[in-house]
């Protein structure tokens, strides 16, 4: 039918179409998606907690800006976990207090190898990226406008974490840690510092955690 064809054309097009597929999640997926999100947040809180015990992140060798970032980011992830679990409970589900099993194992294996700020930043980037991609994808999977807003709202913040971490990583790799400062000496920043934090025009979703990955069993 003419009108349906036009609707199909619109629906099949767009940068997200291939990554997300057309199917929308059933309401029962809402609880699982929220629990998985909470599990990613729990893992992020645990990881930043551990990172803050490292001398170059939370100890005497740490730059104040780095320590502050780790502390505030950990707090923000804690608030995200609380928000996801509150939504779970409103839907009659059990709050998720455990970390995402897949990425908890990845963190467990990575921790002994973290010897420098660059190592820690790289691990944090992975966790922030997975979280942002998961939530961006979940926006299209959950069944209510309220949940779409929650996932979008948090995806944006994880992306901000990632943007700063990517910039910090670039400065560390360029052996310019002194430029990680607030306010920065912007005249001294390398040109690439202006773009390395946002490498994609559209948030990818290929690394998104499956809805059930962190669900309460």
């Amino acid at each position: 039918m003419h009108s349906k064809n036009r609707f199909r054309q619109f629906s099949a097009h767009g940068p997200a179409a291939a990554a997300t597929g057309a199917a929308q999640g059933a309401p029962r997926d809402d609880v699982a998606a929220l629990q998985t999100a909470a599990s990613l947040e729990n893992l992020a809180v645990q990881t930043y907690q551990m990172a803050l015990t490292l001398p170059f992140i939370g100890g005497p060798q740490a730059k104040p800006e780095v320590k502050m970032f780790a502390e505030r980011t950990m707090m923000q992830h804690s608030e995200h976990a609380a928000a996801f679990n509150a939504a779970v409970q409103r839907l009659g589900g059990k709050p998720q207090t455990a970390p995402d099993p897949k990425y908890a194992e990845m963190v467990r294996q990575a921790l002994p190898a973290i010897k420098t700020p660059d190592d820690a930043v790289g691990l944090a980037i992975t966790l922030e990226d997975v979280a942002a991609q998961t939530y961006a994808k979940d926006v299209g999977l959950v069944s209510t406008a309220e949940l779409r807003q929650l996932f979008a709202s948090v995806a944006g913040v994880e992306s901000m974490h990632k943007a700063i971490l990517l910039t910090v990583q670039a400065l560390l790799k360029a052996n310019q840690p002194q430029l990680i400062a607030r306010p920065p000496q912007i005249a001294e920043l390398p040109s690439s510092a202006g773009s390395v934090g946002f490498p994609d025009a559209f948030c990818p979703t290929a690394m998104a955690a499956p809805v059930e990955e962190g669900a309460v069993k």
């Binding site: 003419h2 009108s3 349906k4 036009r6 609707f7 054309q9 619109f10 099949a12 097009h13 767009g14 940068p15 997200a16 179409a17 057309a22 929308q24 505030r72 707090m75 923000q76 995200h80 942002a132 961006a136 994808k137 926006v139 299209g140 406008a145 779409r148 807003q149 996932f151 979008a152 709202s153 948090v154 995806a155 944006g156 913040v157 994880e158 992306s159 901000m160 974490h161 943007a163 700063i164 910039t167 607030r182 306010p183 920065p184 912007i186 005249a187 001294e188 920043l189 390398p190 040109s191 510092a193 202006g194 773009s195 934090g197 946002f198 994609d200 025009a201 559209f202 948030c203 990818p204």
Partner: protein, 272 residues
């Protein structure tokens, strides 16, 4: 002179061309209804007419817009079905109030148009920043800031293209400018900027408005692909905002959740 006057307006005549195509297609469908399915369809159309008519009067969603087009065919066919009964003379009818003017972008398409316009505004704003850089109005511009402007502008252009492709595929005129309620004020603010921090603060506000607009759009769009387009653009705008906060010297992630208090709503579009 409008800042947009430098830019091409390839969609300027698109509405008329597409309307003619739509008219031809609707006419063809109506002919087919008459020729092949007209007799058995009449009974079903009688039952459907009321529902479709309601949909046509309430183009609140994208789906209802397209149902509206189908409904127009159905209503036409239904009117033909009543041919066995004498129609009332026009003079004896109560004068009907004129139909409300049709919106260019009904339903979801209005928010899509707002998004396209907002991205065009961002592109034009960054173009203007580059012009100011070129004329020396901002003083010495650090290389990282210049790179930020060029890269963010390119990404906003990509976003605008995504939204305009959606409009085009829906048979609607694309937007190559920024017909929004905020445009004049925003460009005036940018015109007054005299330094890199001034420009960075201006851009930060615009990126925050974009991020909040897309956050809100995930709740007021109904088409899945449109929702996902908003969901995958919003994080990029927040990343721009984080780097701008860093450049300004503010804490780069000041809020735990992206709000919607400054989000543009569908009625921000200055196009009927």
């Amino acid at each position: 002179m409008s800042i947009f006057s430098r830019r091409a307006k390839p969609g300027g005549d698109a509405a008329m061309v597409i309307s003619e195509r739509e008219l031809s297609e609707l006419t063809r469908q109506l002919d087919e209804l008459h020729e092949s399915t007209f007799p058995p369809l009449c009974k079903g159309l009688d039952e459907l007419t009321a529902n479709l008519g309601a949909v046509v009067r309430q183009p609140s969603t994208r789906r209802s817009f397209f149902l509206g087009a189908a409904g127009a065919v159905a209503l036409g066919a239904a009117a033909a079905c009543s041919g066995g009964q004498p129609a009332a003379p026009a003079a004896s009818r109560t004068p009907a109030s004129p139909p409300p003017p049709q919106e260019t972008y009904p339903g979801d398409l209005k928010m899509v148009a707002v998004a396209a316009a907002l991205e065009n505004l961002a592109v034009s704003a960054y173009e203007e920043v580059l012009r100011k850089v070129g004329t020396g109005e901002l003083g010495a511009v650090p290389p990282a800031v210049a790179t930020f402007v060029q890269t963010a502008m390119k990404q906003h252009s990509d976003h605008a293209q995504a939204w305009n492709t959606a409009l085009s595929r829906a048979g609607k005129p694309i937007l190559s400018d920024a017909p929004l309620s905020i445009t004049q004020q925003q460009m005036a603010l940018l015109a007054a900027a005299r330094s890199v921090p001034d420009v960075a603060k201006f851009a930060l506000n615009l990126e925050n408005v974009a991020a909040q607009t897309y956050t809100a759009a995930t709740t007021n769009l109904s088409d899945h692909t449109a929702i996902m387009t908003a969901a995958t653009i919003q994080p990029v705008e927040t990343m721009h905002a984080a780097i701008l906060n860093f450049i300004i010297g503010e804490y780069p992630i000041p809020d735990t959740f992206i709000g919607i208090s400054t989000a543009l709503k569908p009625d921000s579009l200055a196009v009927r």
